[in-house]
Amino acid sequence: MLRLVPRRARAQWPLLASLLTILVVGTTLLGTAALLVTRTSERGVEVSAARADPDDVTATAYVGTVAAANARSVATDTRTVLTSAMAPFPATTTTRASAALRLLPMGDGGGVLGGGYLSGLDDLPSRAALVAGRWPRASAALPEAAVLQSTARLLELKVGDRVDLGPELGRSPNQAVGVRIVAVVRPLQNAGWDRDPLGGTGFDPDPPESTSARQIHAYGPFLVDLDDLLTGGSALSRLEVTAHPDLSAPTGRGLDELTASLLGANRKLEGTLGDRVEVQRVSSPLPRVLLDARDQQQLTSGGVLSLALIGLVLTAIALTLAGRLTTGVRAGESDLLAALGTSRRQFTAVAAAEAGAVAVVAVALAVPLSSLLHAALTRLPPLAGAGLAAPVTVTAAQVLAVVGGAVALTALNVGLATRTAAGAGDRRTQRELLARSGLDVLLVALAVVGWWQLRAQPAAAGSRADAVRVLAPALILTAGAALALRVVPPLLRAGERLAGRARGFTLALAAAGAARRPQALAAGLLICLGCGAATFGTAFGSTWHTSQRDQADLAVGTDLALSLTTAPLTGQSAQVATATGGVISPVARQNIVVGQWLGGPDSAPQLIAADLRHADVLLRGRAGPAGGWAGTTRPLVAPAPVTGVALPRGSTPAITGTTTGAMPISVAPHLLLQDDSGLRTTCDGGPVPLDGRAHPVPGCVTQPGLRLIGVTLSVLGEAGIQYVTRIDATVTLPAPSTSAWTVRAASPESGQLDDPQITATGSRLRLSSAVSFADTAPSARILVATAFADPGPVPVVVSRQFATAVGARRGSEISFAVDQTPVRAVVVGVVPQVPSAPGAAALLADLDLLTRAMAVRGNVDLPVSAWWVGHPAAPDAAARADGLGLGTVTTRAAEAERLSGSPVRASFPAVLRVLIVAAVVLLLGGVLLQVTCDMQARAVEVARLRGLGVSRRGIRAALLGEQAAVVLPLLAAGAGVGALATHLVAPLLIRSDTGATAVPAAVAHWPWASEILLLVALVAACGLAAGAAVLVQVSRADAAHLRVAS
């Protein structure tokens, strides 16, 4: 019997070639998917780590309060622990240390102490620019120090001066320290000065780290050599060691080791430092980054496998079709062999031998083909862009997948080959119909369960790939196609009834053939599912990309965002505007406390405030309400801008004041300035004694276009005593004011400022108030004068999550705290999401009104932390903004690119393309095979039709009409299944880059143009395939066939 196999193969090679082609397509898809989910996936994690933001791959050890004797050993041990935690990767470290605040001898400060502190950085030249002098050297007889420009200005220091810092404040008496000023430096932007105790500002009238009961004006840092600081007998208030691992060529295993090591670093540091320190902590975003990458890797692998499974199902169906057609072609031969006494076992052996040979050839072809396809895919976008280009490679997992797939499909092939074929014109038996119905019901039930499970998947991050996510799309598509096939026959029968009324023959025969021939629908499931998979793949890809863009839009919130590392300086708006063009706005974005509600650990309520006059240009995010952001935010915008007093560049306001009492009193002025873009900054003056003399406040008006819109005076004097006096201070301005100024106590509830008055006369603002010194809190005696009135409750729109959390709705009054400054607000709208705060409980306010509300409460340190740019004019706006060195630049285009082109996600869109191509190839192959076999089986019938007087043209029309009547509804049904699956499944399969539910939620997107193009191409290709087969067969239909038949 086995001798039959090669002989039959030679005779029926086209059939075997088609079986082999289908098997090769399926197993190649499997092999490619295996390479994507193993080699490329792992490489994705490695590239992801190598490309991570440098700030995201560092680990910093924070150590607090170290005795002078332990400073050096603690620093050394901390470096050692941190470096070892980076194993197996080499790491470099940078160290920053700040000593405790020491008494700084000063002149009469109105009863306020002066303080200064030493700091040491081992990379000072990379963090500051030299303005005067030279960099401090180590081990000088008198330690050498650099000071910031602001410190030098306020303390009137210059290079060469000696500064003696007294004992540490609030600690046991210890030695004074003297330093020689050898440099005045300017802190560089984005150089970590936010980690300085005074934030790199050089001065703080009320430092948070003060341990003294008395008010202290802190100055510093005095930047000395790090080793000098660690060995100079100063206790450290804080020590930070940051390790930077070299992840330029990581391995997945190494990254996993690093993750585990860093997660245990905190405990290791605690054990190493022991009681030499009061506080220690290791903080690093790196484990989270790597774990997120692993989560994404899992999710992407799940997606790739789900698409590969669809391809495998298609292959199995194509193989089933090919098997059935082969069985049909061999029916006569099988009957003969059976009649000659061939047993079922012998049939099976022959079928297995033939299928095994085909499988071996398929494996031999699929392994190199999948390697080549994989290598080609990695050289195309998005994998190439993600840095995942790979050479042609063969892996064990790939070979296993190919062999496993070939074995499974071959088993199916053998099973089919041993079944008998249905004869032409046979009607299905009741049993077959019942089995088919049962299978349909089972498929639908499984699909419903899969869809339900997808819907019920957790919204939180870290949802890993599971069987449901892998199986559900294939199940839903297959069940949809099976159900759609139920719809097609009634349609064909209805069409046949209509066509039967016609006089002519062609239409009637075509309709009857389509409606009544079981073979006509033999390829039905393949055509329907193939079209469904191709349209689903196209729409899924579009939905996925649209969702990535939507997520990027909402996450960035605007076209270009520049997140500042330090508070913006006066004049920065001009810099940003020049670099980017477009509409720019300063933006406040920070966590807030709403009433008593702090939110969760990672879900604190957020405030977003921007210049909402340009909301339509500035704000981005699909979650915007109908009518756009402009309509929603219109009630949030202040009715009129603040004008204040225009200050000519270089002008110097002055303060003159008196007090009615004997106690020396001074005031610390803070000027609230506004530039043309609406950016509000403050300029702090040193303490000004109220001695009747004019004291200039220099260095504030450094830019043109500034306007003074507010002044706060912190009244300084000995506090905690029962003493009341009245102060009178006049601010002399370089130009007259036309605004209506108002004055109030920043915290009237404290009762320390009574009867505040203001008079604006020409260019003079005269403020007066009765002052009580009973309360020790300096904030109780802040007099606020503004060129605008108290705005009252700030109108805000809140996110749905915010509204749910605090029970707010339209019209609700809420109170929240920004930097401990209470702000009253009224909710004027609820929106699904607030730009730049996806999924967060967030509120959106107009920055102008918000800062007015904060200013009247005495907080003029306004919380601007970013610049937003709408419609940036410069094509290279992002690069130019980045060149400013102000902070991190993000654009929605770049964010979308990051999301969709991420190394750990890029495999998904790539394999989508492969699926579409595979579906189209299998579909067309199935159509060609079906039509060819059908035509061959009907050759005699076609010849007889000619014998009946039907012209070749008429036969061609009837046969093509029949094929069209079958294929077109199947393609339409397939497109319907694809659309349905897209709407049901695609949004549920799309997750964010953290693995959580996408925000905004993904919405099914049906790309009409692409889908129509695909369907037109499918119709044309099917028409071409069927047309070619029909044409050849009809042209061959001649008397020879009749002779054979007779």
Partner: protein, 225 residues
């Protein structure tokens, strides 16, 4: 030749070439008068089917002419041949040649549809013909649901549907048992007489030969005397 419905003159047909050439027909000539039934008799491979195919315009002779009802079949183009088979010549095949997806009535209606007959007239004629062949009660059954004899009767009804001048039947009883074959032959004889058609029937069956008006013997591609 005057008055003959079918005139075959010096027809030759060879398949293949050289040493492998098969001379299916050699100088075949005969006439068939209208309204007669001719039995074409010969062994398998003698050239009966080839001759019928040439007469029906399904095959072209290498030389010679065939005239059907005054029309030279051998001079017709593809469309002309299709018209010939539609209007003048009908076939009855050994294996019946019914379209499996069509019912008996629909199969009979095929020639009428080709002639674009009025649907009502078509239905009337189909009923009439099915009644004629005794299958009025089986109109909606498909070929697969009919016996061999019933299928051949449907094929005969279909062959008569377009009122042809010449009916060509290639071993119409070859697939039937003796009793059914006899019935079919009786039917053919009946319709020749009742419908006035001319029939050329290739057969091995002596009964059929007995029913024919004339027997033409063909052997090795030649008409035997």
């Amino acid at each position: 030749m005057t008055g003959a419905l079918l005139a075959v003159r010096q027809v030759n047909r060879t398949f293949g070439s050289g040493a492998a050439a098969v001379h299916a027909l050699r100088d075949v000539s005969f006439d068939v008068e209208p309204g007669t039934m001719v039995a074409l008799v010969g062994r398998s491979g003698s050239g009966k089917t080839t001759l019928l195919n040439v007469i029906g315009g399904l095959d072209r002779p290498d030389s010679g002419t065939v005239m059907v009802d005054g029309l030279e079949v051998t001079g017709l183009d593809e469309d002309g041949l299709s018209r010939l088979r539609r209007d003048k010549v009908s076939y009855v095949f050994q294996t019946f040649g019914l379209i499996p997806v069509l019912s008996a009535a629909e199969n009979v209606g095929v020639p009428l549809r080709l002639a674009r007959a009025e649907p009502r007239e078509r239905e009337r004629r189909v009923r009439l013909l099915l009644d004629l062949v005794g299958l009025g009660d089986h109109a909606e059954q498909r070929p697969g649901e009919l016996s061999g004899g019933q299928q051949q009767r449907v094929a005969i009804a279909r062959a008569l549907a377009a009122s042809p001048r010449l009916l060509v039947a290639d071993e119409p009883t070859g697939q039937l048992d003796a009793e059914t074959g006899l019935a079919v032959m009786g039917l053919l004889r009946g319709v020749v007489e009742s419908e006035g058609v001319t029939a050329v029937v290739a057969t091995h069956d002596p009964v059929m030969m007995a029913l024919a008006d004339r027997v033409i013997r063909i052997g090795d591609g030649r008409v035997e005397p």
